[in-house]
Amino acid sequence: MQRHGQARVLGQGNDEAALVERLLAGDEEAFVTLIRQHHQVMVRLARSYVPSEAVAEDVVQETWLALLRGLPSFEGRSSVKTWLYAILLNRARTAGLKERRQTPVEDPERAVDQARFDRSGSWSSPPVPWEEEVEDRVRAERLTKSVQIAIDQLPSAQRDVLTLRDVEGMTAADACQILGLRQGHQRVLLHRARSRLRNVLEAEFGENIA
């Protein structure tokens, strides 16, 4: 849990060049580090475009191979990570074109149900504190499951942004580059996604409190 916000991602500049060199030299340790960091997140992301876990795994494997094959001509115009996720999304979208789930976009979408504010815009039904409960590990584990299910149910544009930003811990700039979004739009999607998850968690807690 402490990981979020840390630079777990690939390094920049020199580190990046060094990583490419190590991979080209056949350094298995470098490759293992890379797949440990990104494989699961990539499967998660791919999973929302393709019909099954197995297909998602295939897409991610193909992505790794495409990355390796492209390494000799990698020019460092983007980071390796940005490039990696761009390949992934491209492949996942192509593979899932026919099966792609479409979720209608409800607009305007609010972070919190309007009915919970009074006419002046102040809370009439305020959020119930749940900080202490989350610190309970068992509870946190169950919540993680809920979050996972809720993420799977997000509209795809929201899910992509949230996966890159909050699950993977990417910067806004990197996520925008990979998804081809403007910063402002990216933030709108992220805010909607986070709000939906918070609502799901609140419902869980509400049930517990009642």
Partner: protein, 86 residues
């Protein structure tokens, strides 16, 4: 971002600005207004805390371990690539 002039933010506005706030995308003036509201509103403070918790929970999903089988499959792929590349 959206500019609200002359008046204080309402709770309803605050809940829509949390991600902008966390991404440091508010103007300095709106940021100050956001923080002023928070310092006087326990509910919105709790809301912000819950959004942060939500983000942390999402981040914890990335900590899943790669299975040993998967890792060895991918290593095989890497070794094959090493052999194939000039």
């Amino acid at each position: 971002m959206r500019v609200y002039r002359r008046r204080r933010f309402t709770c309803q506005e605050i809940v829509e600005l949390v991600t902008d706030y966390l991404d440091d995308a508010l103007t300095r003036r709106d940021r100050r207004r956001f923080e002023t509201h928070l310092s006087g509103c326990d509910h919105c403070t709790e809301f912000l805390r819950q959004m942060r918790t939500t983000i942390v929970l999402s981040g914890s999903l990335a900590d899943e371990d790669l299975s040993a089988i998967r890792q060895s499959e991918l290593l095989t792929l890497f070794r094959r690539w090493c052999l194939d590349s000039p």
